[in-house]
Each structure stands twice: as structure tokens, then as C-alpha cells.
Symmetry: D2
Subunit: 319 residues, 4 copies
């Protein structure tokens, strides 16, 4: 259809969720699992999906997950409904990593497991593609709702052990979040450039828009905000490189809060100076904005990150 | 395709731009023009479009309009490019009211005229439909870009006289703006209801979302903001009824600034408590948000209204 | 000392807390109490204080109050520490209405009582005057911290009955809050006028400040916000007149949230265009701002009002 | 009087304006000037003042300065009115550096000069101390308004040459601004610590304030904002060390915009959780807030810095 998309077209063979899936398989999969799925993924022969979020519950609390992964002889049987499975409308996406509960009675963070489910397993039904503010992102495989109904796979498809699901998810979310933030900063920079070019060339009420102090304020403000966010991301990357994802925990949460909303703000102003063009397919701004907005809750809403950051900050002052 | 849309589905035979066009024809058209176009419009036999905004210039300054309406014998010849012509993709939209310049050398607000252009006139080319974020609103006739290339219509198609275009535009924009604001308040109320229903039923980290003070704050804040905006709209409506559109000028600008952003804010919070569902076609929130966002520049960007309001406020304190 | 003050100088014989105290005595006091204290108060012969807030606890939760009012024969004995007792540094303030607990084991809202304590009762020690952002408001009697140490008054000094304290407080807070909001709107209007006069007369970088779009935005925005707040206050006053304080409960909370922050915003911008003058004693802006800021927690912080408003809003959607 | 002050008490012998004056004298003064004034300043024997801001004009535009410095034989004669001369109420402040115009007809940035005026020179009248909100900062020498009326000093008191005033001012403002920002970040950190300690110990409605998500949000948000601001200041300092004040021009403006408002925001939230205590002399928060607020216009209002930043940003996309 040639419609623009909330996923940047240039993000092609280094896309989420493939990058995250590769990392997960590289770190946690068995040799057999790697040969079967990681190698063709790295070779670009297949694509992959990651199925965690569920429509019926607040998935930001991993404890809420309802999909069951039940041992039955040499198999696991999976039942549940997932949505926002990015890329799943693309038939090339041959393998799904699915999060579910193997033991709902275990300790809070030991109930979940991850398992490999090939696309063509009986019982996997793709229900529909979800939209992000009108964008269906179909050219990138969309964001599917999928029903898993008595889906049976060999027990060897489990990634790591039973109860490791939460830990695997944590391990992939850190890098995933900084990747998102780096892409967003690029989007904000592009928006600022478009804003500057536009106001330098448009005239209203007898003067270029660039001479209006309210627009000068937006430009300066954008530079201040982008720069602050960039430095926070750089510090986080440096921490991840030097003290690891755990050591960078607070900073990863900080950028996840700070960067999407900064990007939203900058793009909103760029849209405003573009008028109707800005909100349309004429410029990349609107699709970019949709991506930034969705990241205020995707991979955990701001409020959950703030809760966790506050706990850490308060801990300094307690007995 | 069954996709949701940034125009509310219930807004059917009382839609912009038909309502505004009917008002314009009722007030300014000749008897012949009324019989030919207003009657079938009122009878719901045809639909109509309003073509003012241009892609190449800042249309919020009417002086910038580049489309020409040139007298040539008993005809007028129209040349120019317009976009955001709501409803034009619907073939039922048989008549376009087009704004252009009949005399670029006249006084600032006497250069523009409005003219009736039947859809099937040679030289009228529909280029494409514009999107609002990812919504193309095709089920409501979309928002078209249209090229007018040596389009020739009888001189009798001019609405009122040459140079009356700016005044006609002003006359229709006031009522149009309050209609927009009333629809937005409805959208905000719906979003608040959805937000309340959602947080009462969702649980995270051991408690209903409704018990989190940050979400209680959003709900209270939404009520405060909706109520303030509603009162401002009611006052404006009362002024329009009692002292007319001119007497309500400042208030019309005030609601045009205040209501879209209030609605944006409330819907944004409702989206946030709905997570992925909120941004998708699953709820009316995302499409409603898109409509609110576009009204921060449609019918004049906030910045132009603020400029004008400030001039009036400052006038009180000048010699 | 001739210093400016966070209480407006024009607010003289209709000041808080005298107005609220008069209302309280008028509604709840015995004939003897009225003759002794209300009459000279109405005649302007004496002034009065209201002692509720305590330094050691979050007083927004009336349950936290620690001051004890203990029956001992024909007397009550009061022990506790209060602060922010407005007007108490003025020796003319001859009578204090003190809130304390007569029965900490009673139901949540029946533990508190109010009692009349003459200034010169032994055991009443005025510790110091509290400042609001540097303002001591000494010309209006300041805001005292007072220690009540075995203060003994006749049992006849109790206002209404034991356990009525919470209800009496609620009855006076509604009117008190709308009075505050009306004063704040006046302060915001004055700030907007000062802002307009200033920017019309000051020049920077070759043009009057009034021609800068960023400042035009502040002026328009101020008008929009003042007008919205005024309408909300007017609606609240109308409800109080027609359905009473209880019927206006939600609206009283709404204005208590909306008006102080609106006033803060407008005055902040007025200060900004006045530069150093704005923050100083040269203009009434800084003192006005301090008053507005203190009303974001005085008589209950915004967060408590939001909590209560949200509960009411959510109730609509529950069983 | 023992009142608290908007200048932190610990900032004693490394205070503005002494630090800036030392830098100015070190860089631009003659040997004689240094011996007479810089040495005793460094030895802590005297204090000094910097007189640039004028009450009658927008001083952020150096072109507006009205104070005249007129050559008369071997002397210069100074006439003008200045205010916000920090420290001038302290009689130890024996020397004032005064900015004025030696040649109003010169090029825009060559009209101004700086000159040394000893405190006891005839014609120097200290009019009054200015307040910042209610703080008079008298224990740090206050902020004086001073009238210079036919004040005559030897020509040798001129710093550098005629017309060098603007360049000298620019040279001192960069370092002055980063010092301000570093102090503010300290103030924000202190406020966050106080906020955490407070909410961990206060209870309302049955739970510690620390468990309310709205307050957790403030704490997390404060950490995010402080951290972003700190990184921006660190980058600026690094640029000043490596490429000099000119190379760090954009960053110095960025921190001047970003840091005071960040600090305002954090302290505002800390005040809110402290209730009446927060706004009073009981905690350092209110005075700290006053200092942060005044830095949104002192040394140039945000709006002037944004204008300049936008010009630089736009320059990238022009011709």
C-alpha cells in the first residue's frame, strides 16, 4: 500500500525483536536450539518474534501473565492469548519465543518460562494485526494478536530451565531499551533538523517563522533536551559496557522514562511548524511520533520504572 | 477495511465540512446557487467540500494564499493546489467551495474570493488522500490533495462578490471552531470514562490501578480540566447567541487554544492506563487523540490565536 | 519595617482567619460564647486565631492530630504544639480556636473537638513566627508556632460537643477555600495587568517586548487560564448558594487544585518580564506568588484533594 | 536577625561576585589596579561588587545600558542608577566594578566600558536593599540599589580600554554561569535527600508517604532530571577546559536554561512533601528555591539565551 509506518524503514535486518531474540538465544539456548534457529536468523534466512504481552492483564507486572506452559510427557502444551507480537504477520517469521507460566505456585519471579514455538505448530492462530495510532506497520510484519490453543512442542524447546523466564526477560530488556532510546534520539535530531529547515523557509505575517521568539524557544529547547537525553544515554551505555546491565539498572530506567517523552516533545513542535504536512505521510514526523508515544508504555510503562527507581533512591536513606 | 478513523463514526450527516458549507451558502449564496447546491445538500443527496489550505504556504495567514481565480469573459479560471480537502475522496461530494485570490493587489483582506467548483469540472485532479498520523479516514471521504489546473466555471459561481472571501471565511470559522470544541469535550469525557472503568478492573503489583495515587491524580486532574474547558465553551456559546460571533471573538480563540490540548492530555492519560490497547484500534482513544492533535493547528494554529488574543489584551493598556 | 507581605494589604477587617472564625462561632457556638467572643470580633474590637496544623504530623489527615483536649473535672486541659497560627503575633488576637483530640479511641472522624482558648491563659507560649519564602507577614500578625502546655479552660469553652471537631472543620473549610480562590484570581488579574503594562513599555533587541511572540503567548495563555479558573469558581459559588457546601464538594476541591497553580503560573510569567523588579519588593508580584504557592498545601495539599476527587469519579463506575 | 537567606550560608569566601571580580581583575586589570584591589581581595581583607543591572531598562540587552562614563580631563565622571548590586550593603565591600557607556555612538558592542569605583567616592549613594521574594540576604551584604551621581574617579581606574566593557562582561559571565549551575545542582540534591527522608518518616491515610505512587514519581523524576542536568554541566565544564569559553558558548547557554528550572522543579516537590515546614525557615528549601527562581532571569533571562541558541542552531541550515 505504500503507506508510511511507525517503524523506521531503515531499521531492516537489525530490527527488534530479531536483535533481542538473537541475544536471548546466544546467551541462553542449547547448542541444538542455536543450530536450528539462531544460525538461520543470523544469516537473514528467517525472522523471529517475541510473545510476552497479553491483552487481558497488566503485563508490566510479570506476575500477571496468564499463558500456561504445561508439561505433558515429553512435550509442553501452551495455552494463552498474546498481542503486540511485532513482525508476526510476516510469514518469514518462522519462530516465536513465548513467555508463559510453568508453575503459578512458585515464587513470584520463578513462575515464568520461555519456550520456542515454530510458527506452523498446530494451534497457533494469528487473529489480527494491531495498529499504533492508525499505523499497521504491515511492511515490517505488523504487530499481531495470536491465540495459542493447545499448542504442543517438544520439551527440548524450553529455553534454559523452568522458572528462568523472568530472568531471561530482564536480561534482554536492558539492551532492548537502550536500543530504543538510541533510535529515538536519532528521530528527535531528524525532527529538529526538519523544524529548522521549515521555519527558515516559511513566512507568515510578514516574517520568516524562524524570527518568531516562540519558535526560537522551541528550537533552543529541543537542543537542550536532546543534548541532555543523549548524555544520559551515553552514560548508560558506558555503564553497561563497564559494570554490566545490572550496574546500569537505574540509568536504563532513567533513559526509558526520559527519552521517549523528550522525543515526543521535540517531534510535537516539529509537527506544529509543519501544520497539516507534519501530521501526514508527507514527512516522517507523524510516524516517528507514534513510535515515541508507544515507547512510553512498551517494555514497561513509565510509572513502573518510576516506582522501581524511587525504591532504589529511598533505600539510601533507610536504616 | 473496517479500520477505525480519526473522525468519530457517529458524526455522519452533520459533519464538517458540510455543516459549515451549508451555513456559508445559506448566508452568502444567491437564490440560484442555493437551489442548485444547498437544497440537495440539506436533503442529504450530495456532499460537499471546502478547499482553503495550500501545501506550499502557511495558510494560517490568509494573505499567503496562492490559488488564483481569474476573470476571463463570462468565466472564472482557477489555478492552484489545495490539500486537506476533507471528504473529497467520496464521489458523492459533488461541489467544492474554493478560496483563491481574485486581486492580489487589493488590500490585505480584500484579495480573496470564494467560488463554487463542481467536482466533475475539467482540470480538477484528485492527487491523493492525506493521512492524520496513520489514519486515512477513507470511510468519511478522506482528506484529499487536489490540483486545480485551468479549471473554468461560470462567473455566476462566485459566492458574494470579489474580495469577500476573507470575510466569508471568518464568518464560518467561528461556529466551526465551537463545533470542534464541543466534539472534543465529548471525546475527553469518553476517555475519562474509559480510564475509570479500566483502572477499576486492572490489577498490578497486588492492587487495582485505581488505588495508585498517580492514577487518582490523572482522574481528578481530568475532571478539573474537562470542567474548566466545558465552562469556557458554554460561556462562548452563550456569547455567540447573545452578542454574536464578533462579540465572542476572544472566547472563540480561547477555546480553540484550550480545548484541543485539554483533550490531548486527558486521552493521553487514558491511553497510558490502557497500554497497548489504548494506542490501537481496540479502543476509540487513539483515533480520538489524533483528531485532537490535528486541531492544534487545523483552523489556525494555537500560535496564531495567541498572537491575536494578546493584541486584544494589550490594547486595554495602550493610550 | 515597611516590608511587603504575602498577605495583601487591602485584606484587612475581612481577613482569614477572622472570617472563618466568625462563621464557625455563628454556626456552632453557644449564646454565651457568642456574646463573649463573636460580638467583639464583629465589632472589630478583637482579632482571633485558628489553631489546627501541627509540625510533627501530616495534618492533612485529621486523624494524625496529636494535641490532646482532656476533661478534668469542670475543665479541659490542652497539650500540644501547633504552627502556622496566622495572626497570633498580633496581641489583639485575644481568642484562639484550637483543634485537638478528646477521644483518640473514637471512630476516625469523631475523635476531634474544638475549644476556645483565650490568649492569656497560662501555658500558652508563642514560640516564633513562621516565614513564607522569606516573608514573615508580621504586619498582619504573622504565622506563629505555639506550644500549649497544660492549658486549662472551663468545659464551657468547648464548641458544640465532644467529637464534633472534624465536622466543624469541614464546615469552615469550604467557604474558606472559595475565599482564597477569589483572592487569588484577583492576584492573577493584577499580575496580568502588570505584565501587559510592562511589556508595552520595555524594549529589548530593538523592539518592545510586547511584540515578541513568546510573550504574546504568555499573555494569551494567562487570559485563557484566568478565564477558565474564574468560571470554575463562579460555578462553585453558584452551587454553594443553591445546593450548599456538601453539594459543591467536588467543585470546591476542583478550584482548590486549579486556582493556586493557575495563579502561580500567571505571576511567574509576570515576574519574568519584570526581571529583578518582579522578584523584589518593587512590585506586588513576588509576595502574591508566595501566597499562591502556600495555597498548594495550605487547607490540604493538592494531592489529598485529588485523591478525594478521584474516589468520587470512580464511584460512578462501580457496582 | 537570624533569618535564613537565599544565598547558601556555606558560600562564604568564594562568593559571587567576588570570584567573578577576581577573574576580571586577574585577566584585564593593570598591575597598579591589581596591587590596589586584587591582592587585598584575594587576601580576604576586602570584598567587592559588580554593578551592571539597571532598574530603568531591560539590561539583558547590553545596548540598553544608560549609565554614562564620561571623560573629563584626567578623570571619568559616572552618572546612573544600578540595582541588584550583591554584597554592597556590607561596608567591607570597598570596591565596585561599574559598567556604563563611554561612547553611545560606537558600534553596538563597543559602547560599554568598565571602571573601578571605590565605595567611599563622593556621589555614590546606597538607596536600599532589594529583596528576593521575602529574603533580603542582609547577612551576605544584600542586593543594593545604588545611585551614581557625578561620581568622579581617575582615568586610570578604567579596566582595559574604552569600549571593552561588553567583551569583559562576556568573559566573566561564562564561568559565573557554570558556578551558579553547580551550586544549583547541589541544592537540588539536598532537596531530593530531604524529600526522601521526609516521605520515609511521614504517614498519612494509613501508609508512609513514600508508598504513594505520586510521590515515588516525584522522587524518580527528580533523579532523572538532576542526572541529566549534571551531565550537561559536566560536559560544559569539560568543553570550557578543552576548547575554552567561546567553544562552550552553546552549552553554557543550555545549562543556564536547564539547571535553574530543574532545581525549581525538584525543590518545589520537596517543599510540597514538607507542607508548611517546606515553605518556611525550618528547612533550607524555600531559600534555595528563591535562589533558583532568581537565576531564571539573573545573568540573562532564559528567553535571551534561547534566542541566541536558536540563531546558532538555525545557522547550520542556512546558505
Amino acid at each position: 500500500m505504500g503507506r508510511s509506518s511507525a517503524i523506521a524503514p531503515e531499521a531492516c535486518n537489525c530490527n527488534p525483536p530479531d536483535t533481542g531474540n538473537m541475544e536471548t538465544l546466544h546467551t541462553f539456548a542449547t547448542l541444538e536450539q542455536k543450530e536450528r534457529w539462531l544460525d538461520p536468523l543470523l544469516d537473514g534466512e528467517i525472522r523471529s518474534c517475541f510473545a510476552m504481552t497479553e491483552p487481558a492483564v497488566a503485563s508490566s507486572d510479570a506476575n500477571n501473565i496468564q499463558t500456561s506452559i504445561t508439561r505433558d510427557g515429553g512435550d509442553y502444551v501452551i495455552n494463552g492469548r498474546k498481542w503486540w507480537i511485532t513482525g508476526a504477520l510476516n510469514p518469514q517469521a518462522e519462530i516465536f519465543i513465548v513467555m508463559g507460566k510453568t508453575d503459578p505456585s512458585a515464587a513470584r519471579h520463578r513462575q515464568q518460562s520461555m519456550i520456542l514455538v515454530p510458527r506452523d505448530t498446530p494451534g497457533v492462530s494469528i487473529i489480527r494485526g494491531m495498529h499504533i495510532l492508525g499505523y499497521d506497520d504491515h511492511e515490517h510484519g505488523g504487530h499481531a494478536e495470536i491465540l495459542f490453543s493447545d499448542v504442543r512442542v517438544p520439551a527440548a524447546n524450553l529455553i534454559a530451565g523452568e522458572g528462568d523466564g523472568f530472568a531471561i526477560a530482564q536480561a534482554r530488556l536492558g539492551p532492548g531499551r537502550i536500543h530504543h532510546c538510541m533510535r529515538l534520539i536519532g528521530g528527535a535530531e531528524r525532527a529538529l533538523e526538519l523544524m529548522c529547515r521549515r521555519v527558515a523557509s516559511r513566512t507568515a505575517f510578514g516574517a520568516p517563522l524562524a524570527e518568531q521568539s516562540v519558535i526560537q524557544g522551541w528550537i533552543a529547547e529541543s537542543r537542550v533536551r536532546i543534548e541532555s537525553a543523549r548524555l544520559l544515554v551515553l552514560k548508560t551505555a558506558w555503564l553497561m559496557d563497564t559494570v554490566g546491565n545490572k550496574g546500569a539498572h537505574t540509568e536504563i530506567q532513567a533513559i526509558k522514562i526520559a527519552v521517549p517523552r523528550m522525543t515526543e516533545w521535540v517531534i510535537d513542535k516539529a509537527i506544529q511548524v509543519h501544520g497539516g504536512g507534519g501530521i501526514s505521510q508527507e514527512f516522517p514526523l507523524a510516524a516517528s511520533w507514534a513510535a515515541a508515544r508507544s515507547l512510553r508504555f512498551a517494555d514497561g510503562p513509565d510509572e513502573v520504572h518510576k516506582r522501581s527507581m524511587a525504591h532504589r533512591e529511598l533505600r539510601k536513606y533507610r536504616g
